[in-house]
């Protein structure tokens, strides 16, 4: 199950809306919450959501936070990472919230299941929150599915700016019980691809090195780790640095 991976990635803490650096995504976060609570949301009837943005902008984080929020509010919820979908159909739990991550990776089986889910959503009172890497018009999916996604409320997930990234890094380190000084965080931020996943993976490597060598986390240590990783960390796949 892919959920486990995600939890690992977040350093052992489940993302929540409270622990989310919302940045410029205020309207989106508000909308995700009203979706879960089925609160009146102005003149619009409740609608499905579609979130898109470049890798590392926080789509998965927001989905997991939505799942957590739904659970807290006793709303059935299912998370599906498109890449790891193995079933034949999506759950038909009434009133469930279906979270479909990275829909651009959906194979024909999942596309079909998703198409059916959209058609049955009204009757089952389900809501779909789907994420992808492009706006709906550029999604390379079946046209009947693509247009259903396009009928949702569409949000561009705005990435964090540098100050927010710094905050994220320090929060993330703290959750692991690691002391990350501002100068080290800044050093990392200026040298690693500024995608939260990469940053987090690098800090994890730094943490392990510090524990192995019993040395404090300093700029000097960060420089060593960076040098050992070849100084070209931006070429790696997300998360590879975290592997032992």
């Amino acid at each position: 199950m892919s959920t486990q991976l995600v939890l690992d990635f977040f350093g052992g803490t489940v993302p929540t809306f409270e622990r989310t650096v919302i940045g410029r995504n205020e309207e989106l976060v508000a909308r995700l919450q009203t979706l879960v609570l089925e609160r009146d949301s102005g003149p619009l009837p409740p609608s499905h959501l579609y979130l898109w943005g470049a890798s590392g902008c926080g789509r998965t984080h927001l989905l997991i936070a939505t799942a957590e929020f739904a659970q807290r509010n006793a709303r059935p919820v299912h998370y599906v990472a498109a890449e790891h979908f193995l079933g034949e159909a999506l759950p038909e739990t009434p009133r469930a919230i279906l979270l479909i991550d990275d829909v651009q990776h959906a194979d024909s089986v999942l596309q079909h299941a998703l198409f059916n889910a959209y058609n049955r959503a009204r009757e089952l009172e389900q809501r779909l929150v789907v994420t992808g890497d492009t706006p709906p018009r550029n999604l390379g999916l079946r046209e009947d599915l693509r247009t259903r996604i396009g009928q949702s409320l569409v949000f561009h997930v705005e990435p964090l700016d540098d100050a927010q990234r710094l905050g994220f890094l320090q929060q993330w380190a703290q959750a692991r019980g690691m002391q990350l000084e501002r100068d080290v965080a800044t050093y990392v931020l200026h040298r690693i691809e500024r995608d939260p996943r990469r940053l987090a993976a690098f800090v994890a490597a730094l943490d392990r090195r510090s524990l192995e060598r019993q040395r404090p986390v300093t700029v000097a240590l960060a420089r060593e780790v960076l040098a050992e990783l070849g100084g070209q960390p931006q070429g790696d796949e997300p998360g590879t640095m975290a592997k032992e």
Binding site: E27, A30, R31, E38, R39, D40, S41, G42, P43, L44, P45, P46, S47, W52, A54, S55, G56, E88, A89, E92, T93, P94, F115, N116, N119, R120, R122, E123, L124, E125, D133, T134, P135, P136, R137, N138, E143, D144, T147, R148, G150, Q151, S152, L153, V154, F155, H156, P159, H190, R191, I192, E193, R194, D195, G231, P233, Q234
Partner: protein
């Protein structure tokens, strides 16, 4: 006095009901004072039995309550219409939509959302069916279709309606017509007036998201309004297939056959999904024959012309030609504008021509995305408590329309900046440090940091092997200059716009 009370009552309902419900049910009513007797009496008139019963079941207690507060002690709901038509005003409530932005709880006490039909209590028989192990389908509302014998005379209208699986929002009233769907709509209305007696089957085909499903729901809703006793069923081809599979697993083909042959009107959507499903096609073939022989109406939608459907038996395809085949085409610009305005009206919001035009111009191929775009604008305006203007619409649609999804490359940024400042791309890599060359280079570095996730060393590398501190310096310099140099700030702004599409 009594008339004013009725108007006031409608105003209250308009404020408390979703616009769609108000427009569909309350606007259809009229009222007239009743002569004689003590106290003020009011007769509320419903134009047909269907509306009468629906209003009685769902809204009457609320209406009576409002009227009592307004001084009408006795009110009665009856079939009929007033001569001069005391129609209450349409619900387009920009004012209340605004008000609700600041007081989000106004409607929270309201029951169901406009597009959902409340669940009817499941019969014991259905519950028993639920108890059987059915791994893939555990949802109570997706129970097997009720058999015709279940329809007890005491069934409420709502329960009858729920069995149709129709969407109450998809009616002929809410369908926008234009050249693209004129013929299909006319044929559909014909069928709705004379089910089983005009075109059988009616075969509607057209591309994705053009309103085929809306049209067949409209047929079903129109027939139900005329006579709720007609047994109507909307079914998506995928769900019909699932029913066949279930009948197969549970060895309940007799019940399955009996159910589908008991229908007066079968509305089946997206028949192309029958491709290569032999058993489903066979079952449908027999159901088709039984229904048409009994002069029951069948309406079919498909994404292609019958002869072009792949993997469908010839005997089925030839039967689709027996009635009338009509096409729905993509709507032209004027029709798209009209669709946006109609949908806005149904939401109870006001959208200017310029905004409708902006949406219609940018989303060409299907109605679904048109609706998505309008919803986005409405949600954005609501969230920010602002009126819907052209500027606001442009801002709201950024998320849908802008194509800056493709990962920008440093090369593309360098070329764009060089073009803008009329310098050479080679200068981006060169060691030259004159102002005329260095400033555009710094701007390009700033943009690279802002618009790509690349690390600073990687950006430095792309600018002729410079150090990451140079990139950082450029970034800070431009940030400072943007505050003091309006021309530079303007340049950066324009470049951002260009690069983001």
């Amino acid at each position: 006095m009594s008339h004013e009370a009725w108007t006031a009552c409608c105003e209250r309902l308009r404020a408390s009901l979703p616009a769609q419900q108000y427009n569909t049910w309350i606007r259809a009513l009229s009222a007239e004072p009743e002569e004689g007797g003590a106290g003020v009496r009011l007769r509320v008139l419903a134009p047909n039995r269907f509306i009468l019963q629906w209003v009685r079941e769902r809204y009457w207690s609320k209406i009576a309550e409002h009227l009592a507060e307004l001084g009408i002690a006795q009110a009665e709901l009856q079939l009929g219409a007033t001569a001069k038509g005391g129609t209450p005003p349409r619900s387009n409530r920009p004012a209340s939509a605004q008000a609700r932005a600041s007081a989000p709880d106004v409607e929270s006490s309201e029951a169901a959302p406009a597009d959902s039909v409340p669940p009817a209590a499941a019969t014991t028989q259905e519950r028993a069916a639920e108890a059987k192990p059915r791994p893939a389908r555990s949802a109570p509302k997706r129970r097997p279709p009720p058999l015709a014998e279940d329809v007890a005379p005491s069934s409420t209208l709502e329960a009858l309606y729920e069995r149709t699986r129709l969407n109450p929002a998809a009616t002929f009233d809410t369908l926008v017509t234009g050249r693209a769907n004129d013929l299909a709509r006319a044929a559909a209305m014909q069928v709705a007036h004379n089910p089983g007696a005009s075109y059988n089957p009616l075969f509607v085909y057209g591309g994705v998201g053009l309103g085929k499903t809306h049209l067949i729901h409209a047929i079903g809703n129109a027939i139900f309004r005329t006579d709720p006793r007609v047994v109507i069923r909307y079914v998506h081809a995928e769900d019909y297939y699932a029913d066949v599979v279930r009948a197969y697993q549970q060895k309940s083909f007799d019940a399955f056959k009996r159910y589908y042959r008991s229908l007066d009107v079968l509305l089946i959507d997206d028949i192309q999904f029958f491709q290569n499903k032999a058993r489903t096609q066979e079952e449908f073939f027999h159901a088709f024959n039984a229904l048409t022989e009994a002069h029951k109406q069948i309406v079919i939608t498909c994404d292609t012309y019958p002869k072009d459907i792949q993997g469908l038996e010839d005997r089925l395809i030839s039967r689709f030609d027996w009635g009338l085949t009509v096409q729905i085409e993509p709507p032209e610009l004027e029709m798209r504008v009209a669709i946006v305005q109609k949908k806005a009206q149904l939401l109870g919001v006001q959208v200017g021509d310029d905004v409708a035009f902006l949406i219609a111009k940018n989303l060409r191929s299907n109605v679904r995305e048109l609706e998505g775009a309008l919803n986005k604008v409405v949600a954005f305006a609501n969230f920010h408590s602002q009126p819907i203007t052209l500027e606001l619409a442009k801002e709201a649609l950024k998320d849908i329309l802008h194509a800056y999804n493709r990962q920008l490359t440093v090369e593309h940024i360098q070329k764009t900046v060089a073009d803008y400042y009329k310098t050479k791309v080679a200068d981006m890599h060169s060691k030259k440090r004159t102002r005329a060359v260095a400033r555009p280079r710094q701007v390009a570095m700033w943009l690279a940091k802002e618009l790509t996730p690349l690390s600073l060393p990687a950006i430095g590398e792309a600018f002729g092997g410079r150090d990451h501190t140079t990139v950082l310096h450029a970034y800070r310099t431009i940030n400072e200059l943007r505050l003091t140099d309006p021309q530079l700030n303007h340049d950066v702004h324009v470049l951002l716009q260009v690069l983001r599409g």
